[in-house]
Amino acid sequence: MREAVSSLGRGAMRAIAELGELAILVVRIIKVLPQLPRTVRLTVVQMMEMGVGSLPLVIVTSFFTGGVAAVQAAYQFQNWIPDRFVGSVVGRSVLIELGPVLTGLVVGGRVGASIAAELGTMKVTEQIDALEAMAIDSTRYLVLPRFVAGAIMIPVVTIFADGLAIFGGYLAAVGSLGMSGETYVSGLRLFFETSDVWSGMIKSLVFGMVIALMGCYYGLQTSGGAEGVGKSATHAVVSSCLLILISDYILAEFLFSWIFA
């Protein structure tokens, strides 16, 4: 019993310490933000890696997500609801929820793991210490470009994914559900709200920052060689996926109860 309580206490202490360290990292990112012009080139490299590098994955994921959304919607309508609403359901669910969250989870897995593994390897091979020893701020040089690239590219990739998912839904509707293209598009237009696009973008902006932050945080915390690098990558992916789902709920509450109410 005593052991259980003390291990619970140690766990809580560790969690609080981690939160504190994460907060320190956020403060340091904010402090070096004015130096962004100095790291434009590094940021562009990261943007290419996150955006262009994730495209094949995003194309497949979003295309099939849209298709599945259309097929599932038609199945649930069961001739009670007119076919044109398939377009409405696919459009709104993709823009508000499926596009940002699935892109966040899929790209987050890929990008978060790669950031954590790269920074983790640099940490255990003293490359980060070498930067610091040369009076180069590792937060500015390594963390800032990744953070900014994540905040920009995840929304950009999400827009791309939204378009592809809606197109995937169109192909499924026309190809396998026997709907006409006009019916799908008219349904899509019927309930279209610009605020849906905005809410999706705000979500993906937050997800992008969460993914990059978790990757950087766990990468910089790495210790203990190859095993440590593996652990950091896992922690980065797991924590960013959890935080995406949790923040998705909080954002949904916030955006639709307050901002777009």
Partner: protein, 253 residues
């Protein structure tokens, strides 16, 4: 011995968890000298070296560089102090995403407004000093251990440092390559009159590059003297260490 003290470590203590690594280190280093700090593996030599450049914060005590306490300094001021230093890391710590030339010139690129041509020219000059100009466009992964060490050495001296810190410069190298590195350290010392602080457990290297040798044991400096004094000393710790004996006051694990 009349030269001014450039770096002074006073009462330095550092623990990691239950492990008391440094238990009160006091040492003064004078401008232009080459001091070697010896001691068994894991005795805290590298930790001491990292304190000198503010990569670790001490639990107690302080490190003064040119009379300024670097252990309790704002980050921005610390970066200014670090520009006086060159640091050769034990495993070279070259940036594996960059070429050797980019590695050597990264400090200059970040701190001065130089054109790509100027940066390349500087990298060439630095690499010439370590006989590695031909590897300027290679990635660190394409180099042997000795070449990586030389590239890292070129990077450490690229910013024209006043103080160069060497963390186990010859560890993991064959005796001939180790000697090449020792010669390089010695020639750089003579050429640029920089203060060198080396930590090592390689006595051949220590004798070759040192003006003065200090020994760290159980978190304290247990010996500090000129190279000739080391050979003649009756200090049991130094005797055991330089003769490489398992029996003696130093307990091996």
């Amino acid at each position: 011995m009349s030269k001014e003290v450039v770096l002074s470590v006073q009462g330095l203590e550092k623990s990691f968890g239950d492990q008391h690594v440094l238990r009160g280190v006091d040492i003064d280093i004078r401008r232009g000298e080459s001091i070697v700090i010896i001691g068994p593996s894991g005795c805290g030599k590298s930790v001491l070296l990292r304190h000198m450049i503010g990569l670790h914060q001490p639990d107690k005590g302080a490190v003064y560089v040119d009379g300024v306490d670097v252990s309790h300094m704002r980050r921005r001021d610390l970066y200014e102090v670090r520009k006086k230093f060159g640091f050769l890391f034990q495993a070279s710590a070259l940036f594996d995403s960059m070429t050797v030339g980019e590695n050597v010139s990264i400090g200059l690129k970040e701190h001065f407004h130089l054109s790509p041509e100027e940066l390349r020219r500087t990298a060439e000059v630095q690499l010439d000093l370590v006989n590695l100009r031909s590897a300027i466009d290679k990635k660190p992964s394409e180099l042997s251990g000795g070449m990586r060490k030389r590239a890292a050495l070129a990077r450490a001296i690229a910013m024209d440092p006043e103080i160069i810190l060497y963390d186990e410069p010859t560890t993991g190298l064959d005796p001939i390559t180790a000697d090449v590195i020792n010669d390089l350290i010695r020639s750089l010392q003579k050429r640029f009159h920089a203060t060198s602080i080396t930590v090592t457990h390689d006595m051949t290297s220590a004798y070759k590059i040192a003006d003065r040798i200090a020994m760290l044991h159980e978190g304290r400096i247990v010996f500090d003297g000129a190279v000739e004094d080391v050979k003649g000393t009756e200090n049991p710790y130094v005797q055991q260490f330089i003769c490489g004996k398992a029996e003696g006051p130093i307990q091996t694990v």
